[in-house]
């Protein structure tokens, strides 16, 4: 189980993340919901080791979390432009996971086939559409077999059809036993998969709901309901 306990972070005397705690079991999907700048992405960056935290602890099975357990799919995908789609997946496998060239190629091709990108294996990322880039980013991250996968705004560049596909893929990952943590402001995404929603404001979690409970009784979660209905102004939730 992954546990964040009383995590806080300040930057230039501004509180970015304020005493955030939550726990996630394998196979669960967590959605950090909120407007830009509320600290969602910072939490993901802390999990991946890209940011430090001032106080609190992040534990996995009661041990300090090792960043090699965590994979990250970035909002801007961050694919390597000098490598082909296949090489984007095989390079980390060869250099980090120490797989042989043939093994890493096989893993790469299998993943690209799963993500319907086998035909694009030998082209460069700049030739791909936003949706394709994102699937490559997923494939590259999953190739390293993370235990926890963090997705930063995974649907920000996608249309509703592709958003639905991403939701299906995230569901599949959770069904495989991965812990999935998503930072998003996309309220459509949370309607399409079973998850636990944490609404954030000013670096704090202000309301929590499961997607099922929210669907059954939205009035019990006024802040999340308000947010999902787009009834909040930016100034309220930033």
């Amino acid at each position: 189980m992954l546990s964040l306990k009383n995590i806080s972070k300040q930057f230039h005397h501004k509180i970015i993340v304020d005493n955030v705690s939550f726990s996630v079991r394998p196979g669960e999907i967590i959605v950090l919901l909120g407007k830009s700048g509320v600290g969602k992405s910072t939490i993901l960056r802390m999990l991946t080791g890209l940011e430090s935290y001032d106080t609190g602890s992040i534990l996995y099975n009661e041990q300090p979390l090792q960043s090699n357990l965590v994979g990250m799919v970035f909002q801007d995908f961050n694919l390597f432009p000098h490598l082909t789609v296949l090489e984007n997946i095989t390079l980390p496998l060869q250099k980090i996971a120490k797989k042989s060239i043939s093994d890493s190629k096989k893993i790469g091709i299998d993943l690209l086939t799963t993500y319907e990108l086998a035909a694009q294996a030998n082209i460069y990322p700049q030739s791909l559409s936003g949706g394709q880039k994102q699937r490559v980013a997923f494939a590259r991250t999953l190739a390293m077999q993370p235990t926890i996968i963090c997705c930063d705004e995974p649907t920000s560049a996608l249309d509703p059809v592709l958003t639905s596909k991403v939701a299906q893929e995230i569901n599949k990952l959770a069904n495989q036993g991965l812990i999935v943590i998503i930072a998003t402001h996309d309220t459509e995404l949370i309607k399409q998969m079973p998850c636990t929603i944490y609404l954030m404001k000013h670096g704090k979690i202000i309301e929590t709901a499961t997607s099922q409970a929210l669907a059954d009784n939205p009035d019990m979660f006024p802040d999340i309901k308000n947010f999902t209905q787009g009834g909040t102004s930016d100034t309220t939730y930033i």
Partner: protein
């Protein structure tokens, strides 16, 4: 008038000069690329002291004439008792000078790589050295290559400064031939033509290499 018979008679000496000029330029550029890469990495890093040292080094080299640097290096090495030839002293000096200039180009190349890619590399488990080797360097080289071309061309021409400490590179060989034949126009014409051929060849070869490397980026 150009005396072609004179050129035929003295071309072995000119060729010896060409060989030394190219040796100084290419080895100097090699040393410069190593020094420049090291300085570029230091300048793009977070170590304040190392950065300060690199900046001071670059300022001194860029702020003083190469002629002085070549002479000073040779004299310092001689005074220190280092058994080194004038050729190698000049090559090292020119390499150190080139490194200071190339560091700025390499720094630009390094900083041109999107920060997000570095973060992606870190989350995938790449070490700093692996990130430089596999992510930054292949992309930075595309920015660096056009400048490397002009650097080699400059070094071929600047190799003539090695004559001040007695290296018999192309221009110095020319002076010797002139002192024997008193035909300055013919020899200077030949030397200028040889420099032009060398620099034009380098420009063409580097352009082809540049196109080949950038082809993949546009594919």
């Amino acid at each position: 008038m150009i005396d072609f018979n004179l050129l035929i008679e003295y071309y072995p000496l000119l060729l010896q000069g060409v060989q030394l000029s190219l040796q100084i330029a290419f080895l100097g550029c090699g040393i410069g690329a190593c020094v420049g890469t090291l300085l570029g990495i230091v300048l793009s890093g977070n170590n304040y002291l190392a950065k300060l040292f690199a900046q001071i080094y670059v300022s001194i080299i860029r702020g003083t004439p190469m002629l002085i640097q070549i002479t000073a290096t040779y004299l310092l090495l001689k005074i220190s008792g280092v058994p080194i030839s004038a050729l190698w002293s000049a090559t090292i000096s020119i390499g150190l000078n080139s490194g200071a200039y190339l560091s700025q180009t390499i720094l630009t190349g390094i900083t041109s790589v999107n920060k997000g890619q570095l973060e992606a590399a870190k989350t995938l488990g790449f070490s700093k050295a692996q990130t430089i080797r596999y992510i930054i360097f292949p992309q930075a080289i595309r920015t660096v290559l056009p400048n490397l071309e002009s650097e080699i061309v400059t070094l071929i021409k600047d190799s003539s400064l090695a004559s001040t400490i007695g290296v018999y590179e192309l221009s110095n060989q020319g002076k010797i031939i002139i002192s024997q034949t008193f035909d300055a126009p013919t020899i200077y014409f030949a030397i200028a033509l040889i420099y032009l051929i060398m620099t034009t060849t380098i420009t063409i070869l580097m352009s082809l290499l540049n196109k080949k490397i950038n082809y993949h980026a546009k594919s």
